[in-house]
Chain length 304, copies 2
C-alpha cells in the first residue's frame, strides 16, 4: 500500500546546547517520509528551489521514497532557522524564509490521487483541504497543524478537520485549538470537530491518543542525550502512518491494537530522530533496531 | 506485616477552582496511613494538639490504623493553608502554623521499633534520621522530602538518604536535590546518594521509578475532574508502601514485578485522593474499586 505525504522540504539551521548545524536537509515532509520509509512505500509531494542539489535528492531516493511529486521551481528552497533552550524544551525561531514554498499549490497526479493513505503535513489548511479533495478514495487521512494556522486560519482549519480521520498535534496545539487546558477534554473537543482519532504528543512526557471513547497513554522513552529535537513530531507521524499503511488498516476503531502499536512505532521513530542533528540518525536504521526499541517501550511500561 | 509511618497530622484549609474547605483533617501521615490501610496494618507516629477532637481521631481508628504513637500535647495542631492555581498545577502556601509540630521529637515504643516497614514522611531530615536509627531490624525504609529541607538541611538530608532504600519525591524535588534537569540523570544521581530505588512523581505526567539499573515509567490516569490535589503524593506513598508491606518484600531488586505493581497501586490511591476535598474520597473505598482502577491503568497503557 502507498502512503502519500504533502508538506515542506526545507533547509534548517539549528543551534542548541549540543552544537549548531547550518542548512541541513529538513522539513516536515522530509522527516515524515524518511521515518515512514521503514514501513511502507512513500510518495512525497512538495516543492524545492534551485539550491536543492542532487546530494539532497539522493537522501530521499536512497530511502526508496518516490519523489515524482517533488516539484523543482526557480528560486530558493524554504529555509528555517531556530535555537533550542538549554533544557531543549523550548525553541525560538530565528528566521523563516518561505521562498518557493510561498506559492506552493500541490497538484496530485492521477497515480498519486489513488494513494489509499494520506498525511497532510503542517501547511496552510486551505492547501490541506485542496489536497484532501483531490484524493479519489482514501482509506485514511491524517494531518498535523500548528499554532500559526490555529490562530490565523481557524475557519479553514475547521473545514480540513472535517475531512481527516486522525489529527496529530502537540499538547500546546491541542489546548489552543480546543480552548481546554485538560488534555483529555481538549482531545474530546477536537474529536467533536471531525477526527475520530486525536494523537497528542507531550514531548518528554509521552503521548496520549484518544480514539472514539478509548484512551491510550504512554511515557516517553528515557534518553540520555537529546541532540536535536527538530523533526521529532514529523518522524512520529511518519512511523505512525507508515505502520498503519503497512497493515492496510482503514479509519477508526476497527483495530485499536494496531493504532496503539502505531503510536509506539511513531514514538520509536521520534526517539531516533532526536539522537543526532537533522535526519542523520533516521537514515541508517534497520527494522530490527526499530523493533528492539519498540520492545524497550514494552519493558519500560509493563506491569503485572 | 506492620507498616510504621512518621509524619505530620494537620488541619488544612484549601482553596482552588473547585471551591474552598476550612480546617479539614490532613497532614502527610494522615493521607499516607489512610491510603496504606487498604493493604496492611498501619502504625502512625505523630503529634496533635488540644483541638484534635474525637471526630478526627475516629477517622483514623475507623480505618483500623493504630494510633498508639499519636501523641497529644497541649497547644494547637499543625495548620496549613494553601491555594491552587486554575489548572491545579501550582499551589501557593498562604499560611503555615507549626504549633505542637515545632517541638515534635518522635520516640518509638519497643513494639513500634520492631516494625519491619517504615515510611519517613516529609519532616526534618534530622528527625527522619533519629527515627530510622531507633528501628531494630527494618526490612524496608522509604522516605519523602521537600524543597525546604533540600535547601535548608542538605547535609542532614544526605545522612538520612544513606539509611533509606526508597526515596519518593516529585520532579522538582528530584531536580533540586540532584542538580540535574533530565529526570533519568536526576534519579541516577539520587541513587548514588543511597536509595536503591527512586520514585519520581511527575503530577499529571505520571511516575518514573528507577530501581538499580531498571526504569519503569507510566502516565497518569486521565481524570475528568480534580477537586483537590492536596495529599496526592502522600496517598501515592501509602499505596506504594502498603502494597509492598502486604507482600512482605524486602529492599531492592528482589522482586521488580512487585515494585512496579506497588507504583501503580500508589498512583491508584493518589488518583482517588484528588477526586474529593481532603481525605473524603479515601475513606470509603473497597479493595475491588482499587483493583478495578489498577486495571484501568493496564487498559490505558497496554499495547501488543
Amino acid at each position: 500500500m502507498s502512503l502519500l505525504v504533502v508538506g515542506s522540504v526545507a533547509f534548517d539551521s539549528v543551534r542548541g546546547p549540543r552544537g549548531a548545524v547550518e542548512r541541513m536537509l529538513g522539513g516536515s515532509a522530509t522527516y515524515f517520509a524518511i521515518a515512514a520509509s521503514y514501513f511502507t512505500e512513500v510518495r512525497l509531494v512538495g516543492v524545492v528551489g534551485d539550491d536543492f542539489g542532487e546530494e539532497h535528492h539522493s537522501v530521499l531516493i536512497n530511502r526508496g521514497i518516490c519523489t515524482k511529486g517533488l516539484e523543482r521551481v526557480p528560486g530558493k528552497t524554504f529555509f528555517w532557522s531556530g535555537e533550542y533552550s538549554t533544557d531543549m524544551n523550548d525553541r525560538q525561531t530565528l528566521d523563516v524564509q518561505l521562498n518557493v514554498f510561498a506559492t506552493f499549490e500541490p497538484k496530485l497526479s492521477s497515480q498519486y490521487r489513488q494513494s489509499p493513505y494520506l498525511f497532510l503535513g503542517n501547511i496552510d489548511p486551505e492547501l490541506q483541504h485542496s489536497v484532501a479533495a483531490q484524493m479519489e478514495s482514501p482509506l485514511l487521512i491524517a494531518g498535523d497543524t500548528m499554532n500559526f494556522w490555529i490562530e490565523g486560519k481557524r475557519k479553514e482549519l475547521h473545514q480540513t478537520l472535517k475531512r481527516i480521520h486522525v489529527l496529530i498535534v502537540n499538547d500546546q496545539e491541542a489546548r489552543l485549538l480546543s480552548g481546554e487546558f485538560n488534555l483529555i477534554k481538549a482531545g474530546r473537543a477536537i474529536q467533536a470537530m471531525g477526527p475520530e482519532t486525536v494523537v497528542i504528543k507531550r514531548g518528554d512526557n509521552g503521548v496520549t491518543m484518544l480514539q472514539d471513547d478509548d484512551i491510550f497513554s504512554f511515557p516517553a522513552l528515557p534518553l540520555d542525550e537529546v541532540f536535536d529535537p527538530t523533526g521529532a513530531g514529523d518522524s512520529f507521524a511518519g512511523g505512525f502512518m507508515g505502520y498503519l499503511t503497512s497493515r492496510g488498516l482503514a479509519n477508526g476503531g476497527v483495530d485499536r491494537k494496531a493504532f496503539r502499536r502505531a503510536a509506539i512505532y511513531g514514538s520509536v521513530m521520534g526517539s531516533f530522530a532526536v539522537e543526532k542533528f537533522g535526519v542523520d540518525r533516521l537514515l541508517h536504521l534497520t527494522r530490527e533496531e526499530i523493533d528492539e526499541r519498540l520492545n524497550r517501550f514494552r519493558l519500560l511500561t509493563h506491569f503485572e
